[in-house]
């Protein structure tokens, strides 16, 4: 394995360990007793509480708990949620689909429409198109996702009820045909994805515009232009050069995939990981919160690693250990 790759992997693993330890410490330092917050639906006796405490290992000293959790993680076991009484892994897996669906949709919108608009802006630099898109982009970055979500709920809920404003799908349709179910899912996806896209596209546009501008002043572009390549081809070459910073952006967008934007999920009752994490935090469900945060951290680290490696493959100058 090349030295630079090994170095990157090692860094990633170290980072993961630190993430893990930090989250663990944060959770355990929190005052209060998670078991005291069990739902009122099933009244719990003192004996049962003691049994639960032993089951979740809450009566052990901190290092023991840490070691137990670490062993569990290596076996793919993230513990059992105190609130739901089910393994964290299965809870997270249930929600992962919805999160990925929303996140990937928004990613695709950003990396197609966002990039295209950014290139358009760069090519039309200084002209009205650039100004208008620039202004729109600036506003986009300033928009609070929950406010946009509420506005869309108000608009569509009230005036155009053909788009559902809550949930992932209509549970009544689960005996209907696959096609109907897919259409239903897509209909439910529109508003949350629109919300998240509106608040993120500005950043992508701006980033791509800057990267494209940088590329356009590169010597090779002027050379190509001088050698008689069509403007379209020149643009294409410049865009290839602008791709590297954009790959870095991909690494930054990955947290979005995981957190799925907690706020958008709250507004649209989208059953993703973000909402699960919010619930877990409020109820101090240690294992569940740990699981969600670990997953988030891991995806971010892996994403940056992937982006790093991709950039290094693309540009040999970046291959330092």
């Amino acid at each position: 394995m090349p030295r630079w790759l090994f170095g990157r992997l090692l860094q990633a693993v170290l980072t993961l360990l630190v993430v893990f330890a930090t989250v663990f410490v944060l959770m355990r330092l929190a005052p209060g007793d998670p078991l005291a917050r069990l739902s009122d639906d099933t009244p719990v006796s003192a004996a049962e509480t003691a049994a639960l405490r032993a089951r979740y290992g809450l009566d052990q000293p901190l290092p023991t708990q840490l070691a137990a959790f670490a062993t569990g993680v290596l076996h793919g076991d993230l513990g059992v949620s105190i609130q739901f009484g089910r393994p964290v892994v299965s809870l997270v897996r249930e929600r992962l689909g919805a999160t990925l669906l929303l996140g990937l949709t928004v990613l695709v919108v950003n990396f197609t429409l966002g990039l295209w608009l950014g290139v358009r802006q760069a090519l039309a630099r200084g002209r009205p198109v650039d100004r208008v898109l620039g202004a729109a982009g600036a506003v986009s970055v300033a928009l609070p996702s929950f406010w946009v979500g509420l506005a869309l709920v108000w608009g569509f809920g009230l005036h155009a009820p053909f788009l559902p404003v809550a949930g992932l799908r209509d549970p009544m349709l689960d005996t209907a045909s696959r096609a109907v179910q897919w259409v239903d899912l897509l209909r439910h996806l529109v508003l949350p994805a629109l919300t998240l896209s509106l608040v993120t596209i500005g950043a992508t546009m701006r980033y791509q515009r800057a990267a494209m501008l940088d590329a356009l002043v590169q010597p090779f572009v002027r050379t190509a232009s001088a050698r008689g390549l069509t403007p379209g081809a020149v643009t294409h070459h410049a865009w290839r050069a602008a791709l590297v910073p954009v790959l870095t952006l991909l690494g930054l967008w990955l947290p979005l995939l995981v957190t799925g934007s907690v706020f958008v999920e709250a507004v649209f009752a989208w059953p993703g990981l973000g909402g699960l994490a919010a619930q877990a935090a409020a109820l101090r469900d240690y294992p569940l919160m740990m699981g969600c945060t670990m997953l988030a951290g891991t995806i971010v680290v892996l994403g940056s690693l992937a982006a790093d490696i991709a950039c290094a493959i693309a540009d040999p100058r970046l291959r330092t250990a």
Binding site: L16, T22, G126, A138, V141, V258, A281, C292, T293, V300
Partner: protein, 274 residues
């Protein structure tokens, strides 16, 4: 190009100043944001001459609450931003000027902290400590917002460490701290200022988001996020309760971003000539 840049910068600074001034100066001239004058007759009224932004479900004047909300939102975000800027700068300077193991360890830590989504950490901290007072919320916002700035400052410091004048200064016996403060800091001031203004916007959005989830400041205090949280239940019957605080947020954050853009344009020679 530079004209339009500074025009948007002026707009940004203008927005921020107007909102900050309104927040400071207007409240004595407006209605009491907490008063519920007429629960039966004046609840959920649309905007009118008497109530420019309408009234909410408890007949409270939305304009007064929005302006007071500006006070709260800025009042929480500004200290948070200052704290984050201070801590980030100090850590970045320490790492960058020290170099070696200290640098590596600190930056590994920062990278790991950056990997954990900030919102998750905030959720954790807010939920763990029931009923945090406002200064506590500003504290946790600040303590979770310095990571990227630390990296930035460290990069700047590391870059300068190689510079010739630094070697010369060290040869003359200047201490590390003096180097950091006298030489690195002024050079890093630009990026710090840019990051700080963006940090202000981020802190405001986060605080509003947390209040929207019901985790931040308690009612009846009218922070913008809390107003959005309350307005949600009457969204269809009284949308103005949610409209104005959101608008306030957008304009303030927009102002912060435009101002930071202008700052960046002023400081970065490449941008200026582009």
């Amino acid at each position: 190009m530079s004209i339009s840049r500074s025009a948007s910068g002026r707009l940004g600074i203008g927005l921020l100043s107007v909102i900050a001034t309104a927040a400071l100066v207007l409240p004595p001239f407006l209605a009491d944001p907490m008063a519920q004058p007429d629960l039966l007759g004046a609840a959920s009224l649309p905007p009118s001459a008497a109530h420019l932004f309408g009234t909410d479900g408890l007949s409270r004047d939305v304009l007064a609450r929005t302006v007071t909300g500006a006070r709260w939102s800025l009042g929480l975000a500004a200290p948070a931003m200052l704290l984050a800027t201070t801590v980030g700068t100090l850590v970045g300077l320490a790492a960058g000027v020290a170099g070696g193991t200290v640098d590596s360890v600190l930056m590994r830590l920062v990278d790991a902290l950056l990997a954990i989504p900030r919102l998750f950490v905030l959720l954790l901290l807010l939920a763990a400590t029931d009923q945090l007072p406002p200064w506590g919320i500003a504290l946790v916002l600040g303590l979770t917002g310095w990571f990227a700035l630390a990296r930035l400052v460290r990069a700047e410091a590391a870059r300068l460490r190689q510079a010739e004048f630094m070697a010369a200064a060290r040869a003359l016996g200047a201490s590390r701290i003096r180097l950091a403060l006298r030489h690195v800091l002024p050079n890093a001031a630009g990026p710090i200022a840019v990051a700080a203004t963006i940090g202000l916007g981020d802190a405001m959005l986060l605080e509003a988001g947390l209040s929207f989830l019901g985790l931040g400041i308690q009612p009846p205090t009218p922070t913008w996020g809390a107003m959005l949280h309350e307005g949600r239940d009457i969204l269809t019957s009284a949308p103005w309760v949610s409209l104005f605080p959101g608008l306030g947020l957008v304009l303030t954050v927009l102002g912060a971003h435009l101002a930071s853009d202008a700052l960046r344009a002023m400081l970065d020679p490449r941008e200026r000539s582009a």
